[in-house]
Symmetry: C2
Subunit: 341 residues, 2 copies
DNA sequence: AGCGCATTGATTGACGTACCTCAGATTCGG
DNA sequence: CCGAATCTGAGGTACGTCAATCAATGCGCT
């Protein structure tokens, strides 16, 4: 039973409630010997602070600032929706979320947005980060000003951010490579449609993918990647050109957004059944492409899980709680036609 | 701001605190017109009850009984560990968990265990269910006595359980079939190592697997499944015999526990590189088998997620909260060598 | 007018913790 | 042994909600 209260603690330790309180909240003015007696009692009774009551007494809230890129992409929209869902959920009523929107792919604007975050208003910032020196500096400044920073989806590992809430993108790229490599029965060429090489997650996916294809599938030839800046129209045009030029493309990895364009190009080419295509992010488009057979696998990160995890990490830090190992590991979801949710 | 309190509500509605309380807690003795006024104020101010404070006032706890099968299996041990982790975590301090262990594969004993659950002591039971009529009856009886029941890992869908916390096992079987089918480059025979056909999850996995192999990979020949009752030694012996008899086995699906035996048989046969093997549950054994190449893919369900989800569902029901769509969907995790956590 | 009844108000004491004040006790240096 | 500094106790208020009591109001009815 967690039914031990401070009163019982005080009785057990033979001190007053005030002293127990001083010890529990590390206030000064208690002799070391007395501190020890109280701590022994804590051990003996297995006392655990009632967090809910404590938060109530402190009238504590968790004001968090979410900084997300703007853009019409389905993934970003899903992220926003998840943030809203959390904010509205009664279970997380003490979490107060403010959203800030910045232009996508713009390190300078992002750094500015980070700079104007008020340390008195927010205990933490959750940010979809572009990995630019300015951004790293802004993150570190924020941390110095006492605001915890959690990176979402795309990391800045060299910064002093508290946590990264996202997937291991190198592993995601390797997984895509394994799927492409093993699903392709004959030799052939493999194309890559990338988003922006400014985003660390895209760079890492490509790295992981190319590494495995080169090392383990020597029969496959990697074509230079298309940079489509997550723009569906651009992706479609460029990919169509690539497909025209190389009649023997047998595999494709679409590692950014802009799936709509990739799907269109594949279907127009009339070769979708002969090309093993692996893409990222499960959206309505990519889901249909899976069902129709245009895509053979889709790698996904669960935006809801990422948002909730970020918040849990921030709360745990604020409350001085441990995290549950495993709960905050964001999975690399692999979807085929057969296991669509 | 969610900072609206009952006091502000009372002021806004022009009634007293007592009346607000009566409306909020659906107590009688308030005129319909007044109820409406208060509810209008709730809407206007976007009042949400502070769950923490409410639980504190009610001194509410969530006593839950976990009924899990005994057995040396790594998955069951992992389940137990997760239950313990949750119970010890300060965040879920009002959750009081009692664990009951019953013999595996024994519907009668399980039904008995369900029968003796005290409805006054527990608000809910979480149970790894075998799908037997007796068990279904016992679950329904419990529900009638006012105890919510959540099935874990293995479901009894025809019962009146509140929720099933586990994966879609048919989809898992289909996924395994897709992997086996697409990884096998030539024609060949496909073996199945099953656990117990008393467990609904095993039956469903096999169904999904066979269905896809038959429909989509006509070049593959399904061998009759081995029933190994999750016993490693038995699995090894039977699988070795099967491998001896059929020199042209190219694929294998191990859908139950007992991976250790499957791995041993595969490695002894010397044909592990020529057999595409897909198994269930990521354990230390199966993880090593993935790395060494004995297994080509492992399908997993996250025991921690399942346990936490079950508890969340129960709490939400008890508090009358909505669930967050998506958070309680247990994923079918697919692991390759490349995306091992 | 007087009765009972339904409705509402006012107030109070929990729940477990935080934080504050003030007074009393103990210790220590000189 | 005295004064000062340090420790400790006792008690209060607050956080937002629940739950209960008791008094007050207004209503219809006889």
């Amino acid at each position: 039973m967690g039914r031990v209260t401070v009163h019982q603690l005080a009785a057990e330790a033979g001190v007053s409630l005030a002293t127990v309180d001083r010890v529990l909240n590390r206030r000064s003015g208690v002799r070391p010997a007395t501190v020890e007696r109280v701590e022994a009692a804590i051990q003996r009774l297995d006392y655990r602070r009632d967090v809910a009551a404590a938060n109530l007494a402190k009238n504590r809230t968790y004001p968090i600032c979410f900084i997300v890129p703007e853009g019409p992409g389905e993934f970003i929209r899903a992220l926003e929706a998840e943030v809203r869902t959390i904010a509205a959920h009664p279970g997380s009523s003490r979490v107060e979320i403010e959203r800030v929107v910045v232009p996508a792919f713009d390190g300078t604007k992002l750094a500015e947005a980070l700079k104007v975050v008020d340390p008195d208003r927010f205990i933490a910032v959750v940010v979809v980060a572009t990995d630019a020196p300015k951004v790293r500096g802004a993150i570190n400044d924020l941390v110095d000003r006492g605001v915890d920073v959690v990176t979402l989806v795309s990391d800045v590992p060299t910064s002093r951010r508290l946590h990264f809430s996202g997937i291991d993108n190198t592993a995601a790229g390797r997984t895509a490579a394994t799927l492409v490599g093993r699903f392709m029965h004959r030799k052939g060429k493999v194309g890559i449609v990338a988003g922006s090489m400014l985003l660390r997650d895209h760079v890492e996916r490509r790295m992981g993918f190319e590494q495995v294809i080169r090392n383990e599938y020597p029969g496959l030839e990697l074509l230079p990647p298309i940079e489509a800046r997550d723009d569906a129209a651009l992706a479609e045009a460029e990919l169509s050109r690539l497909l025209d030029r190389h009649g023997d493309i047998g595999g494709l990895y679409s590692l950014g957004a802009g799936n709509r364009g990739v799907i269109a190009a594949l279907e127009k080419s009339g070769r979708r059944d002969h090309i093993v295509a692996v893409a990222h992010e499960l959206t309505e488009d990519s889901r249909q492409a899976l069902v129709s057979g245009t895509f053979d696998a889709v790698i996904n990160q669960d935006a809801g899980h990422e948002v909730r995890s970020a918040i849990r990490v921030i709360q745990a830090k604020a409350d001085g709680h441990p995290l549950i190992p495993g709960q905050e590991r964001i999975r690399i979801d692999v979807f085929f036609r057969d296991n669509l949710p």
